[in-house]
Amino acid sequence: MTAADTLTKLEARVRDLETTARETGQNLDAALTPLRAEVQRLRAEKSANLSRWDRVQLARTPGRPTALDYVERLCTDFTELHGDRAYGDDPALIGGPARWQGTPVMLLLQQKGRDTKSKIKRRFGSANPEGYRKAVRLMDLADRFGLPVVALIDTQGAYPGIEAEERGQGWAIAESIQRMVRLRVPAVCAVIGEGGSGGALAIGVGNRVLIQENAWYSVISPEGAASIIWKDAGKAPEAAEALKLTAPDLLDLRIVEEVIPEPPGGAHLDMDAAAQALGEAVSRNLADLAGLDGDELRAQRAARFRALGAFTES
């Protein structure tokens, strides 16, 4: 029996015992506690041995917490503000002021949707230009009211559609990047699932950029890379390896400052624990930046991104 089979079997046993305990009112903790510990140990062991493609799969697991799942657990007083004041409102990129574990902030959220209907409505988190233009508007407000920006990134990429192109998808992303470069308030970004290309970077120009343990961030999705390299999207697992898109890879490349741990097995297995770790990491980074003034914040952010790249000089 493989470790994976053992884990599946133990998880089933724990569920059965929990059901029995609930239905009969018996206290089965004596039996459950060691089993739960063993499940946690096996999940952690499994996490340590994940391939890059396994992590991409985890980042896409249907039950993985979305941006709003975290906001519900970590924020109070969230007021969603709608629209770009030019064309429309984009449900794939939402935001507004809120308190993040008590601290007033401006939220920018890529929201994938939690059921089929809302996933379609939100285009699985792939924003149109009006989403990025709304982000620019919200960053204007953040600067005006001195609210730190907290951005939760979760998108396969900006939406590739006819109307998106007609309304200047590239322009909207570029303007959002530029607006974020110019922020005079702290910006803390966290990739909480998928960080696909320019559509993710549009709200990813933070003083600090964090990533959850099983999230990915890349210039192109593994499928996109595979269809360009091998003319076969089925080679996505190979592309994921080549792209070095996992959280540990990005930490090595200094593209992120910090990897936020997830509960063993992935954020979907314990949303509350995942939220707690995310909340703590974001709050701690916000606190670190609180002492800097507008010029310093802007200079630190500019220097951070100006330094990224790998080359030699003759």
Partner: protein
């Protein structure tokens, strides 16, 4: 002599697409056989149908700048293989081939020159080098050129030609979008004009960063310009794409570019525009 000229003129039409590629070229649009000498004199625009041929970076700057004014600055920064990227061949092998083909370390050429006598800092992307893709070196050279322009107090003129960010440097390529944006801040702070010219093709991460945050955005006639490539869009929405979709004229209609300008007019256009923007008397 007259007879000789007669035969040379006839040849292209008779043997379209055949031999003597060093003497003449067939226009991909109107299929006319064109003498390279004539094509070059016309800034590589087909004199018959106006098709704009793609230019490598050196030819681009020859066309754009006053003759003999260009002084290169790029060239000392060389790409590496930070991810040890391996697909159908190792990234260093791809780079070596592109470097041998173009004689350039990467897909961009930057420097200084004059346009109508006005000093400018320029950057031209090179589509002949790996599709003009943007990795760390392209980002760094464009950033340095923009910073040089701000220091030297000149306008910055950039010609985009790129399929987008370079896959082989993955997230590091993506970060060049933010890096170049940061570097362009100095121009805005000093009130110096930044002009971008979008040539065929300009797509992906280049369209979504430095190319589209210019003070004035021009496009060459017929150039394909967009964020997502037409094939990706077609695969996603499974609809027929409208005629002329993502072409320069389409973008002008949709308010995304300031003007579509024939390449043969670029120098005169920029002389006039930059003269007013920098409040100087210019003219060559």
């Amino acid at each position: 002599m007259a007879l000789d000229r007669f035969f040379r003129r006839r040849r292209p039409q008779q043997q379209a697409g055949a031999d003597l590629p060093d003497l003449w070229t067939q226009c991909p649009q109107c299929k006319e056989g064109l003498y390279n000498r004539d094509l070059e004199a016309a800034s590589f625009v087909c004199p018959k149908c106006g098709h704009h041929f793609r230019l490598d970076a050196q030819k681009r700057l020859d066309v754009l700048l006053d003759e003999g004014s260009f002084r290169p600055q790029s060239g000392r920064v060389h790409p590496t293989d930070p991810l040890n990227f391996q697909d159908t061949e190792p990234y260093p092998a791809r780079l070596a081939r592109a470097q041998a083909k173009t004689g350039r370390p990467d897909a961009v050429l930057t420097g200084t020159g004059t346009i109508g006598g006005l000093p400018v800092t320029v950057a031209a992307m090179d589509f002949t080098f790996s599709g003009g893709s943007m990795g760390s070196v392209v980002g760094e050279e464009i950033a340095r050129a923009a910073e040089h322009a701000a220091r030297a107090g000149t306008p910055f003129v950039l010609v985009a030609a790129s399929g987008g960010a370079r896959m082989q440097e993955s997230a590091l390529s993506l970060m060049q979008m933010a890096k170049t944006t940061v570097a362009l801040e100095g121009l805005a702070a000093r009130g110096l004009p930044y002009i971008s010219i979008l040539s065929d093709p300009t797509t992906g991460g280049v369209t979504a960063s430095f190319a589209t945050i210019a003070d004035v955005i021009l496009a060459e006639p017929g150039a394909l310009i967009g964020f997502a490539g037409p094939r990706v869009i077609q695969q996603t929405i499974r609809q027929h794409l409208p005629e002329g979709f993502q072409r320069a004229e389409f973008l002008l209609d949709h308010g995304m570019v300031d003007d579509v300008v024939d390449r043969r007019e670029h120098r005169a256009y920029l002389t006039r525009l930059l003269g007013v923007l920098t409040r100087q008397e210019v003219g060559a």
